[in-house]
């Protein structure tokens, strides 16, 4: 029998397999449940307007911030009912992808 290099072990429900592991598998990110309290920018852009006020009660689906990106004025909406705890950006700020813009409690 041939010998193979770079072998690892893959555990499946049918047993432990001696095999090569691909980068998609070894590099997979642990799953995280989305935290709706943190409102993130889903794309880099510029804060065009802030609709929500600190301490304001908001419902799921309410507009919080307008983010200007990709030639679009994107409405960032609340994904939960709650109170606006903190606003971390100001009008005119340039924001990167995944930045926390606002917190809800």
């Amino acid at each position: 029998m041939k010998q193979f290099d770079n072998l690892g072990v893959l555990r499946l429900n049918t047993g432990y397999y001696s095999t090569r592991l691909n980068s998609r598998f070894t590099g997979r990110k642990p799953y995280k449940t989305e935290d709706h309290r943190m409102v993130l920018s889903f794309i880099p852009g510029t804060i065009k307007d802030i609709i929500a006020k600190p301490g304001q009660m908001v419902n799921r689906g309410d507009d919080l911030i307008i983010l200007d990106a990709m030639k679009m004025q994107n409405r960032i909406k609340s994904k939960m009912d709650g109170k606006v705890k903190k606003i971390l950006v100001s009008k005119g700020d340039k924001v990167s992808k995944g930045m926390v813009l606002l917190e809800i409690e």
Binding site: M1, L12, T14, S18, N22, Y31
Partner: protein, 514 residues
Amino acid sequence: MALSKKIKELKEKREKLLLGGGEQAVEKQKAMGKRTARERILALLDKDSFNEYDMFVEHDARDFDMDKKTLPSDGVIIGSGTIYNAPVAIFAQDFTVAGGSLGLMHSRKITKIMDHALKMRMPLIGINDSGGARIQEGVNSLAGYGEIFFRNTISSGVIPQISVILGPCAGGAVYSPALTDFVFVVDNISKMFITGPEVIKTVLGEEISMEELGGARIHSEITGNAHFFAASEEECFEQIKKLITFIPWNNERKARPFDPGEPDPAYIIDKIVPDDPTLPYDVRDVIRAIIDKSDFFEIMENYARNIVIGFGRMNGKTTGFVANQPLEMAGVLDVDSSDKAARFIRYCNAFNIPIITLVDLPGYMPGIDQEHAGVIRHGAKVLYAYSEATVPKITVILRKAYGGGYIAMASRHLRADFVFAWPTAEIAVMGPEGAANIIFRKEILSSGDPDGTRKQKVEEYKEKFANPYVAASRGYVDAVIEPAETRKFLLHSINVSENKSIQMPYKKHGLPPF
């Protein structure tokens, strides 16, 4: 004017056009390790077989001072020739002329040769090396792309379409190769993307080089857009020539048979597959032990390696191989390997190529990432492709064939014409561990020694069910064969399937889970 003078005039005109974009531009092209468009065509086709058409075509753009510019042959060379005497239609974009940019007449030359290829039912090869749309020609340039995409689609499954990326191919232009059957890329030369690094940086703030974004390696290993990777243009042309020998000229023909030959005796089929189903081996060695001259032409070698696809010959006849690869990710079916296999099965079916499937897989890949990436939808493509295929389908179960994986891999139930199994085959509803744990749950839990009982029950289950004989007793397996008999059984099966004919119900087209 005397005839000799007219001929001289023609020669002069031709010579001028053959210079393409001129010496400087040609030098620049060479400095990038690239050949010129005509050099590429001549290197690819049989000697003296190329007939060029539309050499004298010129653009008729008027805006932005374009009327003062002449672009030799409008930046694309078209014609026809042969590869190992097979007729092929070909176009090659000439980067030395206005960066190979696509304007109206440029696109008309391409669509002319595409129409010709479809009408004559011969393969089409497109060599892409272009900066993209000729902006000065505005919406005419977009129209040109659209006309090409439409023809790619209409010709799909009628004539083989091959795309060769030998330079940039960006923006909308990428969709022509994406619609064709096989895409060839060359290291450091091919660049394919929808939006380039500059746009990505501007709108998303993400920085990446062209090579990392859409170079040859990325498309061969990560995206699955490319089917063949080569280190140089020469190697790439050899790959294309070899592919042409394996495929038919159109969907109404079969591939031409080539000299048959026995497999290389260095591949001893009994000594490749370990008995322990959790130990790896290279399934390509099994294929090589079966096919003529052990000459396996692998497709998408570096993408989703847990499944192997490619062509080999059985007694001279082109045969498509689909095989789980236990050496990579234990040979599981996942999102990428399902896509890879399904498309190849459909290719074989469209072009009358019998399919041999070698089965050894633990099942579908578990995981949140797989489930969320749509392994249900993608995995279903394999079932769909095998079920709809009407070409001869022959299956050999080497070791594991559990659960959904067993069904998907060209089982009898998806209308395999022949199913063979080696004595090492384990055909069962699920792996022995899982099955024993469910069936004997009560006994295991109520036992004074649960671990001992579990082990004993797993062994019992293995003994009784992890074999090919239960499936054979129901006729799901046609014959349990010795590994060394595999080639003999496969040759026979292919021979007797020569005139296979089945009728499918009328439909406009099916709805595979794209």
